[in-house]
Symmetry: C2
Subunit: 140 residues, 2 copies
């Protein structure tokens, strides 16, 4: 059993090294939670809770700092879905989201769901960084 785990850990460590960060116990622990397995959407709070449960020794401040660093180096994408809190997506490819308003939960749009035509020109002096689409959902 331990074998796969060890290999995955090694990959996570390499991933962190690859972006120029020091692979500390905390970063490795958080990265394991984030990057081993399917793509996911987390808040700082959720990740902190998960880390605590699974025995990763980390403080909430470090969770925040680590998430920010991972975004900065392109390992995570920050998704703006509501004004209350930030969501982080382990899938950094260009895609869009459902946001379940009643549950404060993000979900990927099925790929190819939305195609945007007639993208406007950026106003003078600006360039388009990114286009975010959020489909807000409520209970039926």
């Amino acid at each position: 059993m331990g074998n796969k785990m060890v290999i995955a850990d090694k990959n996570v460590e390499l991933k962190i090294r690859a972006v120029g960060l020091k692979p500390t116990r905390q970063r490795i622990g958080l990265a394991r939670l984030l990057f081993i397995g399917c793509a996911r959407h987390v808040t700082a709070d959720e990740l902190f809770a998960e880390a605590s449960e699974s025995g990763v020794p980390v403080s909430l401040a470090t969770v925040y700092n680590t998430l920010r660093q991972f975004v900065d180096v392109g390992l995570l994408r920050e998704v703006l879905a509501g004004p209350e809190r930030s969501y982080f997506d382990t899938d950094v490819s260009h895609h869009h989201h459902f946001f379940h308003v009643d549950e404060n939960r993000l979900e990927d749009l099925p790929p190819g769901s939305i195609s945007i035509d007639d993208l406007p020109n950026a106003p003078a002096g600006s360039k388009i960084e990114r286009v975010d689409v959020v489909v807000r959902l409520t209970r039926k």
Copy 2:
């Protein structure tokens, strides 16, 4: 000069009454700033500053509460552009936004700029409340 002002005030008061709110001095003052003239995007802070400058006697807490109430009754729309603060749009019709990341400023997309095809079906049990598109801009 005073005449137009008085009429506009009257309309603002009627607007507030129409949604079932009591037209207090504060609500009328804020509504005048918001709804007389062109459509605009404001933050609570900006509106509070404006109110203070133009002699509308109102506290920051009341600005927040009033904005929230105006959103609830459909007089304003809250726009999600970043996690730091909320923006309020006096244009409640369906339209999308540029967000100037470096300036924290919203701007309407030229009408008809974006057309979304292939809108996905909502997941089971949910219905689509709204689709938000934010085109994030940085300095060129």
